[in-house]
């Protein structure tokens, strides 16, 4: 069994971080340069961490599989970033952002981490503005805000519909400055394929250069993974095609625990699937729900009608009806499930019947088309490119899609995994969003981790390691890890199968969506686990990978990633099966409110809403690898709430 110590400092919630920073050991400036830190990934978390650590004086080596750090998928975030600035004077505060996030996560996140996140959120905006991030502004020159789901205040900062790109360019520019002055050595087109563990500590990685195919060893005093989420296990998602779980999965297989893998986020507003060839689902920013109203026809027979001809009285604005207090800005998990429910009732729109309307006609009437164009122009243009429809004239059609994973490698308060020396940041860790993430909070977490948390906590670990004493790359563990990587490559390329890796990925995705998607149940999950096992066996028998090892080979890259997804998919189902409750994005059909429950009668929730079981499941499930073919071991970190009371999540 792994030892899980959350290392949450004692003391009042609001003082924990301050006290912890003070009591954490420091490294003196002359010694900092003797420590070498590997940062894998260069999205918001990776870039900001690499730059900030280099500024402190550490020797930083940054690895990305992209051709440039600026291409990491943080770039695609559209809507915005939350921060408790209270610039709108609408009664926002650190405490409110903290509480909204805890509640939004359905009381399944670690309280102290979330408070710290809210605490540093304001500094992030300062940092980004100073870097030249062109946030939207009012005519007076001050920063503008908008609202996002799960909040009743306007605390979201944005840069048109491409906040992610602008924040990433800010972090990337900080990274560039540190590359130029020698603080960071940047390795592009370099994919991490294994973690090297020496005497129980993470001390290096094995990397494949994607251009040349060359495998290399890299040692360090600490390894930081900021490699994003694992949503592409579903194949069809809003993730970039290249996003993958290989770095965290291989760290898992070296002993790092995987926290809450079943907490996956299905985003309510994506462009619906149109055909089997589809490679990617496109998100329509949640910010659209500020001005768009979601509805479906009340009557099934109206579903094929031109929406303009359906009279107001025959429309069901179901989010406004069911969740009056938040309406169209209900949290993502709730909005997604509500869309599924109305579609399951046969009231979905579009060719496939898997779609609901997101209608801007009221907002256009109220504010004028110009204002809507200014706010969302690029999103409307993107929608037009994909669907060939004009959303200024006819409502958008949207449907939920896999968008984010709250689960990830288990980390303590210092963002260190149970493997000493291995730190995990951003979406790759599990810590801050519980069972559901609120909109505009992913950017906040990535940058909080990279700019402010890790630079303060990593010294606590490094102080326990003697400077200049990291193991050399000739150590047996490096040898063994490299052989492991070479072995997988040989096995994949040597297989005499008939099917492509992409075809398996597609099959796995469909299987997971069916058995472990928006609604899950015991029988389905058990079936899913069995089918994934069979598919994995089939993969190693029948996969066929084109090309050679020593060259640019996209088939080989994908084959390795799909092999990992085929294992991770099973863990996802196992976690979902064991968690016999519903919470946030994890909806078990067996555990939902019915009209007989007191909470429904009191008007707190609706029948069909998720029903938690705090007495049995108020813990983090941290799964530990037990070896090939053996079931993983379940470790539990109890969730201790000192400040807030776990309560029924009500958005009515």
């Amino acid at each position: 069994m792994a030892t899980l110590n959350s290392n949450v400092p004692v003391g009042p919630l609001a003082q924990k971080w301050e006290k912890h920073k003070f009591s954490n050991k420091l490294i003196n400036p002359a010694n900092k340069r003797k420590y070498k830190i590997i940062v894998v990934g260069a999205g918001l978390a990776g870039s900001s961490a690499a730059a900030s650590l280099a500024e402190l004086g550490y020797e930083v080596h940054n690895f990305v599989f992209h051709d440039s750090p600026r291409r990491a998928h943080s770039v695609a975030a559209q809507g915005g970033i939350n921060a408790a600035k209270n610039y709108q004077n609408d009664n926002d505060s650190v405490y409110r952002l903290f509480y909204d996030t805890i509640k939004g996560g359905d009381f399944r996140s670690r309280e102290a981490n979330v408070y710290r996140l809210a605490e540093v959120s304001a500094n992030i905006i300062d940092q980004c503005v100073a870097q030249g991030v062109p946030f939207a502004r009012e005519y007076g020159g001050l920063l503008d805000n908008r609202s996002f789901g799960g909040a009743q205040v306007s605390r979201t900062f944005y840069a048109r519909g491409q906040t992610g790109q602008q924040l990433l360019l800010g972090a990337y520019s900080a990274l560039c400055r540190n590359i130029a002055n020698g603080g960071v050595k940047s390795y592009t087109h370099s994919e991490m394929l294994d973690l090297v563990v020496v005497d129980g500590h993470a001390k290096g990685i094995i990397v494949r250069n994607l251009q040349s195919g060359e495998i290399s060893r890299h040692n360090a005093d600490a390894v930081v993974l900021a490699t994003g989420g694992y949503g592409n296990v579903f194949n069809l998602s809003t993730y970039a095609r290249g996003s993958n779980a290989t770095a965290i999965w291989r760290a898992y297989k070296r002993g790092a625990c995987f926290g809450n893998p079943c907490y996956t986020q299905i985003h309510p507003t994506c462009i619906p699937v149109s055909g089997d060839y589809q490679s990617k689902l496109t998100l329509m920013s949640e910010s659209l729900r500020n001005d768009g109203r979601i509805w479906v026809p009340k009557k099934k027979e109206d579903c094929r009608r031109n929406p303009a001809e359906i009279p107001e009285a025959d429309r069901d604005y179901y989010l406004e009806r069911l969740y009056g207090a938040f309406g169209n800005l209900a949290p993502r998990d709730i909005a997604s499930r509500a869309a599924k429910t109305v579609c399951d009732e046969g009231r979905g729109v579009g060719e496939t019947g898997l779609g609901v309307y997101l209608d801007f006609s009221d907002a256009i009437q109220r504010l004028g088309e110009g204002k809507i164009r200014e706010r969302y122009g690029n999103l409307f243009a993107m929608y037009h490119e994909i669907t060939n429809e004009d959303a200024y004239r006819t409502p958008m059609r949207i449907y939920p899609a896999v968008h984010y994973t709250m689960g990830g490698l288990w980390v303590d308060y210092n963002l260190m995994s149970n493997l000493p020396g291995l730190f995990v940041l951003g979406e790759a860790n599990f810590s801050d969003h519980g069972a559901n993430r609120l909109g505009a909070s992913a950017l906040m977490q990535g940058l909080a981790d990279g700019y402010f948390v890790l630079p303060a906590t990593i010294s606590g670990y490094l102080a326990t390691q003697k400077p200049d004493k990291r193991p050399g790359t000739d150590h047996d563990s490096f040898q063994q890890a490299e052989e492991n990587v070479q072995g997988v490559t040989r096995r994949l390329l040597g297989n005499k199968g008939t099917r492509t890796p992409a075809s398996f990925h597609k099959q796995l995705g469909k299987l997971l969506w069916e058995h472990c998607g928006m609604a899950r149940n015991k029988a389905g999950l058990e079936k899913g686990i069995q089918l994934i096992g069979e598919l994995r066996a089939d993969y190693w028998k029948n996969v066929k990978v084109a090309g050679e090892a020593g060259e640019w080979n996209q088939s080989l890259e994908l084959a390795g990633r799909v092999a990992d997804f085929l294992e991770l998919g099973e863990l996802l189902c196992r976690d979902a099966l064991h968690r016999e409750e519903s919470c946030g994005g994890h909806f078990r059909e067996e555990y939902q409110y019915t009209k007989n429950d007191a909470e429904v009668q009191q008007g707190l929730v609706n029948p069909g809403d998720v029903k938690r079981r705090d007495d049995q499941f108020a813990y983090v499930a941290a799964w530990e690898y037990a070896g090939e073919g053996k079931p993983p071991v379940l470790n539990k970190e109890p969730l201790v709430y000192e400040e807030v009371k776990m309560s029924t999540r009500s958005y009515k």
Partner: protein, 257 residues
Amino acid sequence: MKVTLKVWRQKNRHTPGHFASYQTPQLNPNMSFLEMLDVVNEDLASRGEEPIAFDHDCREGICGTCSLVINGKPHGPHRGVATCQTYLRSFKDGDEIIVEPFRARAFPLVKDLVVDRQAFDRIQHAGGFITVRTGSPPDANAIPVPKESADLAMDAAQCIGCGACVAACKNASAMLFVAAKVSHLGLLPQGQPERYRRVQAMVKQMDAEGFGACTVTGSCEAVCPKEITLDFIARMNRDYGVALLRGAPKKIAGGGA
């Protein structure tokens, strides 16, 4: 629908390349151009042939990874979109479509349709930043930024670094890219202290990478997926001129206590 693809195939930069023709399987007009290449590649792979290498990632027009010159135009037939947002409904059944990599000396070929655009990163290393340490900035509202400046800076900041401007230019000039970067930071108050040093450093690196000169033909603007305009090149030229007139900043000697 079906189309015939004439695709540039080249094993690596040391081996000569050639065009190869492929008849596609049945396609759906709602497919994206890259999804069509996925389908062709699955078909090739299942027949034991090597798939066509092409760069792609986000597939929603923001990461700047996808490239391709389609029928002579970087990012294909439409204005203001990247290849990944180009759909087959823009082509006709039976069309022959020519697909080539971005061509420029500063973008060496990796394989087939993939080129190496790290020269852009090196230009950014030279000066594409505002020097600010983590943790040291003032409150975000301490310096008001006129909305017009913020909006114009944002117009420039939309650049996704794809390199289509270079591929479209007969001189393989990177002026539109560099101008977008220089203007984004130069338009904001936070970018003023390093404004002139920045433009000189970035232009110097651009020249060192082997990008050509700008003759203002405007082909870059025409293919830019984010519709970044030539005005920014004029803006950069002005800043560069001012920087030359101002001369190198005086070195401050000494320091230390």
